[in-house]
Structures are given as C-alpha cells and as structure tokens.
Amino acid sequence: MKDQYRLVEFNLNGKDVSCMVDCRASLTDMLRNDYRLTSVKKGCEVGECGACNVLIDGECFNSCIYLAVWARGKKIRTLESLLGPNGELSDIQQAFVDETAVQCGFCTPGFVMTAVEILESGKVYTDDELRKLLSGHLCRCTGYENILRAVKKTMYKRNGLEWKEDN
C-alpha cells in the first residue's frame, strides 16, 4: 500500500485534533489506540451490538463499521466528553447509576451516547418510541427495563416534567 497513513483533521470532544491514521483502521481503532478513549468498546465489530457507538455531527454511529479516515471535518463525541471538569457525572450517567441500569457496564457508554442524542433532540417520546430509539444496542445483563427508566427519567427532568417513581 502506497500512502498507508493519512492525515485526518477533526473535532474530538470539543477540541480540534489531527492524526496520521492507518487507512485500514476503524474509527473505534483510532479512538481507542490513538486517543485512549476506552469508553468506546469493541463488542461484535460488525455493527450489531452498539457498544462502540459515538456521536458524529450529532447523530449516533457504530464506530466499528466506520472508517477512521471518514472522521475528516467531523465533530465526534464520546462518553468522556460528558464528565464535568472534576470528573463529575452528567445527569444521564447519574440516572444510569440511580436506576441500576448498569451491571457489567460494557454496553453502558454506547447506550448513554444514544441517550444523549435522544435528550438533545429536546422532544418528549413515548415508551414505544424510546424503545425503538434504543433498539440498536444489546445488553446481556440488565434486561433493558432499567435503562429505559434511566433515559425516560432524565428526559422528564430535562423537559421540566414531574417524575414519579411509578412512571
């Protein structure tokens, strides 16, 4: 291969960055190996499980089936961008803790980033709509119900709606 390494300039978690990346790399490879963003998990690596999910220009993508060179000019966000300056958890992460939506935690960063896209839309969704929006993720531990509650609770709070425990 002639020019195996290519210059890729993009915005990562709010900072402009550039990287000489192997053109055979997936975006997961680049985020984990070059930037040590280990919230981006390798699960299936064929687009089925959502463990590697990140936000690209505000939309969710499975980074395992996204070439690293496609990051050119994009705004990419990973779970690491949600933490406060002293490592404080964001509301959606705290809701995952409070609702016991985390067991082994492998699926969690992917789910949380999809939740961020859902929450940033500013819309209030029904349970059925939320289930569909979350359906690109597999969780082998929690049984999904607590994840749904964590997202719904945060959606209610951000939209100024009253949250009751039996919602």
């Binding site: 290519r6 064929v46 999910n53 089936i65 996204y66 359906s135």
Partner: protein, 293 residues
C-alpha cells in the same frame, strides 16, 4: 483494522469515476454497512476499496427540473425518513427505511448501498420497485438512467458497468402523484433483523374514491430479486374499492411470486404471509388515499 489491500478516496463524482476506471478490480464502499461486515467475515478480505462516502454532492433530496423526486445515492435512511419531500409525496419509503436495522444503521446505511447490493430483502427495494423508481448511474461516458426492474439482474448482481457509480434514485411525477402506499416488513424481531418477506403496495384512487385507478405491489424475498406482482395488479386496476377486490387481489399474488425455503422461513409460510401482507397493505393504502370500506 480492516483487511483491505488499498483504499482509494474520492471527494467528487468525477474523482470516483476516474478511480473506477483506473482500478477496475476495486470495490465501491459507500456507508460500508455491507462492505465492512463482509470484509470482517472474510468474504471481501484483501480487496481494494474506492470510498465514495465523503462525496457530499451525492447527499440530499430535491424535486428536479422534470419534477422527479431525486434522492442522492448517499442519502442515509434516517435522512430519507425525516425529509419533508419524502413525507409529503412518498411517505411509505421513509417508513420502509425506518425499519432497517437500528438507529445507528439507519444513520450510516445509504439508499445507494441498499440497491447496489442487489439483495432481495433490502428494505427500500420493494417500495422502489412498486413506485417504478429510475436508477441513475454516472460513468466515463456520462449519465445513464434505467428502470429499477432492469437494474436488478440476479441475486447480488445489478447493472453497474465499468467505471460507473450509482448517483441517484428518481421517482417520476407520474408515479408519485396522488399515490399512497404502505409497506409491511415481516421479521422475527422488531429491530436489527432482516425481512422474512417485505411487501409494498400503493394505489391511486378515482376522484370519488370509489375505484382503484392504479394499484402496484412489489415484494422482497418472494423471489431472488425484488418483484412486482402483475396478476394481482391486473385484478385491482379499475376495480371498485371493496373488501372483495382486496381479497381477490391478495390471492392473485400467488400467480406471481416464487419464494424459497430457507433457514429463515419455509416456502409455504412465505406464500401464506405474502397473501396476508398484500391484503393488509392494499387495505391500508386505500384508507390512506381517502377510500373507505
């Protein structure tokens, strides 16, 4: 890391065509949700790729000078579903592609990839057949257009010639005017599953909503490539809006389709659901067109 031999990157249609001519062995990669998975599985391992994913001129939907709905080949499923032109004139296409995979797949998957893969189960393909879409290809000799039914040659093979890429899918005005449709995907799971069978129907009713002026129906996974059901269409065309018409139409599809036994479902089961899907889709289309039973 992907096991690819070389990655050529195009940023315009012109560059893509040039790369296609220079590297006839190389395979086009758009969103990569088929290509990269097959590369991982080993089926496409060690191949050269031409990436067209960053050719932004191939994204977006508009009404062109001839009043066709023009969908750029790189437009993602989620952008098709959200598009106001699609919602106004061919909502069923937006609904069909909203049943592909899950949200992340709908953000990466393109309509070009969904048709160029030549796969019968592709969720956009039955609707595009039922609406007589036109495929636009651009190559070294310029632009070529052909009806989608001629684009599909056999399972997994479509009519893309040397140096060409698909640049758009067009829906002609005569096809979308006053037309309402419905798509049914039958799968084992609500998300992240491939259709056992997919059925797309659309109708245009007479002004008094009592007669079916034109009915069109197409299936995915009823044959090696997506197919129309002309016998069923002949039964419905010009017939009164009634339960009887819907019933006859649905049974007539059995003269047209030839589903196979596979690990997903048996032939008899596919035939059974095909009839039921035809019935439900025609009923729903008629209701959407303002008809009543």
């Amino acid at each position: 890391m992907y096991d690819m031999k070389e990655l050529y990157e195009a940023f315009s249609v012109e560059e893509a065509v040039k790369l296609r001519v220079e590297h006839p062995e190389a395979q086009v990669i758009a969103g990569g949700s088929d290509v990269l998975v097959q590369m991982r599985e080993g089926k496409r391992a060690g191949k050269e790729l031409i990436s067209i994913y960053l050719v932004d001129e191939l994204r977006g939907i508009r009404i062109d000078e001839e009043e066709n709905i023009r969908i750029g080949s790189l437009t993602s499923f989620s952008h098709i579903t959200k598009d106001p032109i699609i919602q106004k004139y061919i909502n069923v296409l937006g609904e069909a592609v909203d049943q592909v995979g899950g949200p992340q797949i709908r953000n990466i998957g393109t309509i070009g990839g969904n048709t160029c893969n030549g796969v019968t189960s592709a969720d956009s393909s039955s609707t595009l057949h039922a609406w007589e879409a036109v495929v636009e290809l651009t190559g070294p000799e310029g632009v070529r257009r052909l009806p989608i039914k001629d684009f599909y040659i056999k399972a997994g093979t479509v009519d893309i010639r040397e140096g060409e890429i698909q640049t758009a899918i067009l829906i002609p005005k005569a096809s979308y005017e006053n037309t309402y449709g419905y798509y049914w995907k039958y799968a084992m799971r609500n998300a992240m599953d491939i259709a056992t069978t997919g059925c797309s129907v659309n109708v245009r009713l007479s002004p008094d909503k009592k007669t079916i002026e034109r009915a069109r129906i197409a299936y995915g996974v009823a044959a090696p490539v997506p197919v129309r059901a002309p016998h069923a269409e002949a039964v419905a065309n010009g017939a009164p809006v009634s339960e009887e018409t819907v019933g006859k139409f649905a049974l007539a599809v059995l003269e047209d389709i030839n589903p196979r036994d596979s690990w997903r479902a048996g032939k008899a089961f596919r035939q059974h659901i095909s009839v039921e899907m035809a019935r439900r889709c025609l009923r729903a289309s008629i209701l959407r067109a303002g008809g009543a039973f």
